[in-house]
Structures are given as structure tokens and as C-alpha cells.
């Protein structure tokens, strides 16, 4: 195994540790904002995952996937924030 492949595997393991910590917070979190911030962080970590996969495999369309994910992954967080501050979703 070359140095490059070893480094990429180490990066993937690091990001998997990130996902495990986020899932721990989603399971344990005492309030709804705790869980929602963990889901938001999980989405951002997933963007990093997809981009590293793009760099390894050389498939350029994965960058479009990461772009769209970064654009829309915060909408759920905003919806929950609006619900928690006591407003309806349509005003």
C-alpha cells in the first residue's frame, strides 16, 4: 500500500470518528436543539466525505453532489429553529 492510500484511509477513519461522535450526541442530546445541531454537523461532515471521495476516484460529478448538499442541508435546521421560536412555517 502506498503512502497516499494509507493517508486517505486515515482521513476516512477520522471522518468516521466525527460521524460516530455526532450520532452519540443525537442519541444522548437532552433537548431538540442539541439533536438538530448534531444533524447539521453530520451534513457538513458528509460534504467533506464526498469531496475526498471525489479526489480519490477522480469522478468530477461528485463535486456537484457536494455543492447541492452544502446548499440544502441547512433548511431542516432553519425549519426547526422557526418552529422552536414559536412561529408557523408559513409566516
Amino acid at each position: 500500500m502506498t503512502f497516499f492510500e494509507t493517508a486517505i484511509i486515515v482521513f476516512f477513519v477520522g471522518l468516521l470518528i466525527c460521524c460516530a461522535l455526532c450520532l452519540h450526541r443525537i442519541a444522548r442530546g437532552p433537548s431538540a436543539p442539541d439533536r438538530m445541531v448534531a444533524i447539521d454537523i453530520l451534513g457538513t461532515v458528509a460534504v467533506g466525505f464526498i469531496v475526498i471521495l471525489m479526489a480519490v476516484t477522480g469522478k468530477a460529478y461528485l463535486l456537484d453532489v457536494a455543492l447541492v448538499w452544502a446548499m440544502i442541508s441547512f433548511i431542516g435546521t432553519l425549519a426547526l429553529a422557526k418552529h422552536l421560536s414559536g412561529k408557523n412555517l408559513n409566516d
Partner: protein
Amino acid sequence: MTEILALVLIAIGVLFNVSGCIGLVRFPDVYNRIQASTKCVAVGTSFIIVGSVFLIGTIVAILKGLVCIVFILVTSSTAAHALARAAHRSGVPLWSGSIVDKYQEDIKKEAAP
């Protein structure tokens, strides 16, 4: 040489991500968790994108990576701000060791006159 530089950038990004997620687990209340994890993970993912785009190296990938970084920086800070404000308004308690709550003072000042 390019490969080494890209790997160093991605390694910095992964370190930022892991430290942000450790902060997400270890800090005592929701405001500290938002503050620690959102900033660290946004910057770490930006570093990962810069390093990966460096490995690809085409002009289209560089432009898409820049747009992706801008979207991550804008959307994660927007979501964190809205979520912290909503958590405060819905009455999530602060950590018992907190010594100042400026937003509560502002709400009282608005309600007083």
C-alpha cells in the same frame, strides 16, 4: 509535491473536524456546543475542499470548490445563529457555570418601557 501539499491540507481539515466533533460531545450546554462545533467543522470542511480540489486541479473543479466553500460558510453560520436564538427563546437553560446572558438582558430592556 502537489500531492503532499493536498494531503497536508486535507489532514488539517480532518483535524479541525475531529476537534469540532469532540467539542460537540464534551461541552456542557447547547450554546457551547453550537459555538464549538459549527465553526470548527465549517473551517475544517473548507480545508478538505481546498485540498481535494488541489488534487484534481482543473479550472471547473476550482470554481465549483470555491462556490461550495462560500455556501458552507454562509449556511452553517446562518443555521447556527437561528438555532441558538430559537433555543434561547424556547427556554433551553444555560449551563450552571455561565456568568453572563446578554440576550436575556436585551429582552428585558425591550419589554420594560
